[in-house]
Point group: D2
């Protein structure tokens, strides 16, 4: 295909594959002008969140009750306002991982030492190094027809994904993002699956992602790759082989409930908050179809 991911080490990891040509392609994918957010709702005290993480908390610090009860303190000449605060794990809703999120044998992407990540945050590879992204995204349902979701630890069938792309006339090109629907968010909401397991990509996808030239992969589950992993010696082989080794970015906990059966392309914008030294940023991916 000639589309293989360029994986020389760069400041932005594999995002260096996204150049003006790719952005033009993204814009060319726009047809109906429909604008969609793929960000899950952020609700006080609600998940889904990964193991050992707490759900977001949303605190109102000024509201209509204050204005009603204490107008002298809360309003001037009839004007008043509301205000609030958010506590959120950076991986606690739809988010994009920073390259400082993982390491193997003490080394992060680009052979940078994990020692750069301290209580003050990451001195290198924090989410602020990703910057904003505009690219073409391919959104493909990885759930076989007739089923609501993949089972926990069920691998995505690459054949099914390729077949659906083919059927839609979509050919991956270097720089595209790939978002896969596994149905896990729906399974979680239905109480059928939990934060300890989900379907997703297996190790057979590693080479295919590189060959297809995807600098960004995403899914509607906690890790993009399936959990538990098929490799007993590595809990997250795709995080190691793709994120750590090649700087591929992972977008997790996507809201893809509306894409059952789909294989579609659109213009994707990822706008991570510029949190200095953070291991991820919550975000609402925007797609224009």
């Amino acid at each position: 295909m000639g589309a293989e991911l360029m994986t020389e080490v760069s400041g932005r990891g594999a995002l260096a594959n996204i150049d003006g040509t790719v952005i033009k392609r993204a814009m060319a994918a726009v047809s109906t002008m429909e604008v969609r957010s793929l960000g899950l709702q952020v609700r006080n005290g609600k998940g889904p969140v990964g193991p050992r993480r707490q759900p977001p908390q949303h605190f109102m610090v000024r509201d209509g009750g204050d204005a009603a009860l204490a107008p002298e303190a809360s309003a001037r000449h009839g004007f008043s306002f509301s205000d609030d605060i958010l506590l959120i794990p950076t991986h606690g809703t739809t988010h994009m991982d920073a390259l400082c999120h993982v390491w193997q044998d003490g080394r992060m992407y680009g052979d940078l030492p994990a020692d750069l990540v301290t209580s003050r945050g990451a001195k290198r590879l924090g989410i602020e190094e990703a910057g904003p992204v505009v690219t073409r995204v391919l959104i493909v349902d990885a759930v076989p027809e007739g089923r609501p979701w993949l089972d926990a630890a069920e691998p995505v069938s690459l054949d099914l994904v390729r077949h659906r792309l083919d059927a839609a006339g979509l050919v991956p090109e270097r720089g595209d993002a790939l978002f896969l629907r596994t149905g896990w968010v729906e399974a979680w909401a239905a109480g059928v699956q939990d934060q300890l397991g989900w379907g997703g990509l297996d190790v057979d996808a590693i080479d295919w992602v590189l060959e297809s030239g995807f600098p960004i992969i995403g899914a509607d589950n906690i890790g993009v790759e399936m959990s538990p992993a098929s490799d007993p010696a590595c809990a997250v082989p795709l995080h190691v082989r793709l994120m750590r080794d090649h700087g591929v970015y992972f977008v997790e906990l996507l809201d893809l409930a509306g894409f059952a059966g789909a294989a579609v392309a659109g213009m994707l914008t990822l706008a991570p908050l510029n949190i200095v030294g953070a291991t991820a940023s919550p975000l609402a991916p925007v797609v224009v179809f």
Copy 2:
């Protein structure tokens, strides 16, 4: 101009002015494929933030130190990772106000009662109702040539803004966003101004914004409009007349340091987090030039 803002009440406020035609215009504004974030850095314990708000706090909950000191607890087969949590006022960095943020005489946009905003958040007009936005943005420096920033409570000269737009051959059209550089963030960083005052739009801009058809206005200060206001009876007349009365969205604390002297157009994407019932969302506006 025939471009006046349509201000019938709608679910998304003035964002209803942004249709497919506007999105096409946004894409047509793209030329160099340069992608920029206008989001300020989010730093632990650092501002700028508005009065009575605390700066963001960023807590690491797992880092390279843990892996180094307690590998048995923090790594398996050599793999480990970092994780973190963010506490952030929704208005505590670059953000987009929700329409539930303000009211006058107990009424929000669309005559909805402020009583809908309780400790559980806003039942209506929360930031989740805004949804994602793609439109054309006009970014104009409102600081006169030769000066670093507007003074506190210095009104933006509409003549200067119009002159710079004209000189750049830019004509506002209904649905465009308008972002104005006041220099306040730089003045704040230099310790010359503080969170109690800034330059910005004055009441003379109210009609002009409506006539120009801007459903979104933004600036690199805390309120878009100047502070203190010129109107002794109303602290934030533009919030009342534009946001409350007409559903115009405000984007505040923009990073426009790179736009001194500029009058430029680009494709803007706003991707507020889908925080149910929130009065705003932190975000990183993305512009493609």
Copy 3:
């Protein structure tokens, strides 16, 4: 008995019953000089907490890993230190309720309107009005012999409590605190009961508490009184009749695991944090036996 609680409205509620005579009695109850905390462990992400509350979160902001990995940033002349932050619901571990915590028909203790409690906290009856307490405490196991805990919604048998007090030669006097072991914390830890139900005092205890002269009642459950309540028209009749009507203070989520079979007296110190306007304070009650 002549010991009935004086319940004229006072600034400190029923704590006005604790005078120098009571403190002397508290000291007279000391014999072995054993000092015990009745505060539960506060653990990151762990309960028990009541419905709709999140567990405490404990964030390290500086630790031994930082010193090891970045000594130049974290140590001077070999010295370094650790630091941390706590996020805790005020009712999210062992705590003492403030009188502003409850109201009936819009009125709190002393006929004060609930309107005094806004997003800025309580203007009256916040925990800062309780102040510190030193008194005699009677700690009695309310679990019948041979059982590990009361069932959910199982009322404490006042006969059992009186019997155990009698057998121990303990006579309640005005100003004493009463702490009852229900076993709920152990039942919760064992996974047998949850935050939706527990054994505790039933409505028959209301008069007895007043007649016995207890200005403070406490238990090792979420509400001192049992849940669900026996009264279908009132979820928390003791909160209404004792806290709201008479200013009796409630201490909840006590650690009484060590008091199976006990009926003992000691000198109790309650030291609520001086949180202005708060509805409760976490605390570690200290008893000297």
Copy 4:
């Protein structure tokens, strides 16, 4: 005096010096039955706090406004309640340091390695190892007569302290706590001093504290010892020599405003929250005079 601190390493550090004899002495110091809290007010967004720490934040999550505006959601049969959450640096108000708070050359008290302190908290010497304390406290004003407070970096005069103790007929005995008023909290509230400097104990106090047998020292400033220190090679020599080497506990940010001119004794109760692995606990020290 024969009162020297026993400083063999123990699980509770120097608190092992407090035995039944000391507790009896504490009770013997009680005369008027006056009960006082030495805890500062905890206020949303207010200090004083040390450098790089944020002030506490207090969030209401349910209040009188909710009940008024949405009775159907907030009240049942006329009953309703308020609830709230506290975010507080463990050193961010009146607090007691844990022995894991400091180390020199990688070693904490008892030669334990600082490596035990990770993002999950301290595996050893967390505040949960201190437990509750009841002892006699000597509260002495260290501010010379006629002055409102010590200057920043002004050492406490031990002669003045000894003189005032003598004049009051108070003789330190092994196991007593020593609390010194420096006036810093008042100087801070007056805007005269800030979090970068305060008066306190200097290195000449090290031997005196050990000889006097104080396992606990406290003050109304951020560090008990003065800041900046007189020793250019060590920012906090008393933390190293007393806390690190001998397990002496420090209680900081005391509210001693009412003790100008005083040298008094009372019964002190310290009730740290049982926060597992924490470097300190906020608390409200209680003294009975």
